[in-house]
Symmetry: C2
DNA sequence: TTGTATGCGTTATCAT
DNA sequence: ATGATAACGCATACAA
């Protein structure tokens, strides 16, 4: 993939500069600059002349020069574990929208769920004089913003002390799942979780509601993969079971596949709730009830936080509430 | 979301500049520059002194100044319809890897499958003096690179005349699907397509192989959505049917759901092949046989093309071959 | 309203 | 091996 370093030929041929426009228009470069920053007053006469000449010469102010003199790049770095994960896609959408409406753009780098790659991604971004940055589910955590001044907002529950932070109320998510399952009069519950604080928070909420209703539950620890969900499904069938809450939709899919392979009806015999409301949730048989994270809004909030920071405004953590998306996997048996 | 335009406070506080480092080290700024571009020879004595002082002052060359004098931004614009779509995610991965290994970064903007948004995305990117650009499945087509000099590579089959282009051999994909279905001795075929050239190419290959084998097929036009796939499934059951090729995995999922709802066994009674090998393909019941696009490689190729263009090298279209990923939906009946 | 002049932080050329 | 110094393309304070 990496070929021998090539000659990187001289600066790409440039079009007319501000000087040439000024010369031909018979004005100073200051006036041309003013026209394009339409801040101060320019006589509509000269303005027209300059605009006409500029467009005929194909002139546009160079972002490079502008950035240098202004001391900013209008770039916000974004480190994301995996672009394809639907939740992150929604966040990116929100980030782009907010940033775009403020004249900023997204400099992307993926961490691919590995600490080493995340560090490389950060270095890649830091080479670019970004005005700020957003990191989704950082594995490196606080070690990141060390370089240069801070201004990085984290979208993750991990480092609880962080000032610039957007997170989901995972405990509430667990509560929602438990309530949905209780509503359908189940009795034998199970939680399929994973390592990390997110899963722990979800389980805490789940356990709390069940306890208050006088129920206990069994647990299985997976790793958010479908395979681990299948193991969970198989393992849990050893005992009485009629309701499963999985900390991720992929694991929920795995549980459902395991049940399906053993002829267990969903939701007839066992109800299943997932987490994230990924695109696959509505494509499974039956369609999967899930706890949705408001990804778009979380991304938008992160972007806004970043902008606030740049502008020197005080920032404080934003916490979002999840939402239950009820589908067939907890509803009445489907055809 | 858009608050009142804020004061955008003065240039972020800067650290020590090259001048300060030079002064304290008792050398000229030229020498400091040389140290950080370790191109020419600098006596290891002064080099050490400069490096030590720079790190103690927290100095790093400013990308802004460097970019200005070099006339490039080390940025490649990337316009993608939808970040979440797994195929595009794979492409982005490839793009990032190649670009990153050449010191370039990705400036991201999503088009969200709408022409208007794509144009906004392009404008957003063009504000940044990118050195080049990649656009995946452009809806605007050739209207895009008009502004500034070209240098944009397209990942799409749409404008066949484009010099900088990466595309998939969709016809071959259709052939692969037909061969897989023929291999399993089916007789009553159907194609579920959509508008656009991609679908047309896939159908052509599909039809060609079937014709050579002495078979005909029925057709249904959807729009790549699961819902349209369900309609197709329902409609096609009006006639004899034991093999379906859908131009997208979502439509294939819809077909399978429609069959499932009517008690038709897959693959026992009807075999199904999808396209793209999206993540959902391996999560469905049964797991879906699909035609995989080598997304990572296509992205990598696009990035390489873009780099070549920047370096003034000749570029020519790259065409990739799809690959059959055989799973349960065309295999023997599963448990 | 417009022009002059300075500086932004760096690289690169040409001396030395 | 190192130092002056001239760009790079623009914004802006100040003067007119």
């Amino acid at each position: 993939m990496t070929d021998t370093e090539a000659p990187l030929q001289k600066p790409a041929l440039r079009g007319a500069g501000i000087r040439e426009v000024a010369r031909q228009a018979g004005v100073s470069i200051a006036t041309v600059s003013r026209v394009f920053n339409d801040a101060e007053a320019v006589s509509s006469d000269t303005r027209e002349r300059v605009v006409a000449l500029a467009s005929s010469l194909g002139y546009e102010p160079s972002p490079l020069g502008r950035n240098l003199v202004r001391g900013r790049s209008y770039l916000i770095g974004l480190i994301v574990p995996n672009v394809s994960f639907p939740l992150y896609g929604a966040m990116i959408h929100g980030i782009e929208d907010v940033l775009g409406s403020h004249g900023m753009s997204v400099l992307l780098a993926s961490s691919h769920d590995a600490a080493a790659t995340e560090v490389r991604a950060a270095q890649n971004i830091l080479r670019h004089a970004v005005d700020g940055g957003i990191v989704i589910n950082s594995m490196v955590g606080l070690a990141l913003p060390t370089q240069r001044q801070s201004g990085w907002v984290h979208v993750t529950p991990e480092p609880p002390g962080l000032p610039c932070r957007v997170e989901l109320d995972n405990e509430e998510g667990g509560r929602l799942a438990a309530m949905e399952l209780l509503r359908n009069r189940h009795r034998h519950f199970a939680y399929v979780g994973a390592k990390g604080r997110e899963s722990a928070d979800r389980e805490r909420g789940f356990a709390e509601v069940l306890r208050d209703a006088g129920f206990d539950y069994r647990r299985f620890e997976g790793d958010y993969s479908e395979a681990s969900g299948m193991q969970a499904g198989a393992a849990l069938l050893d005992g009485p079971l009629d309701a499963v809450f999985a900390a991720g939709d992929l694991m929920a899919a795995g549980v459902m596949r395991a049940l399906h392979m053993r002829g267990v009806q969903v939701p007839g015999q066992v109800a299943v709730v997932g987490f994230d409301d990924a695109a696959i949730a509505s494509l499974l048989y039956p369609r999967l009830t899930s706890i949705r994270q408001p990804g778009y809004l979380m991304g938008a909030a992160a972007a806004q936080l970043s902008l606030n920071f740049i502008r020197g405004r005080p920032t404080e953590p934003v916490i979002f509430s999840p939402e239950l998306v009820a589908r067939e996997s907890t509803g009445p048996p489907s055809a």
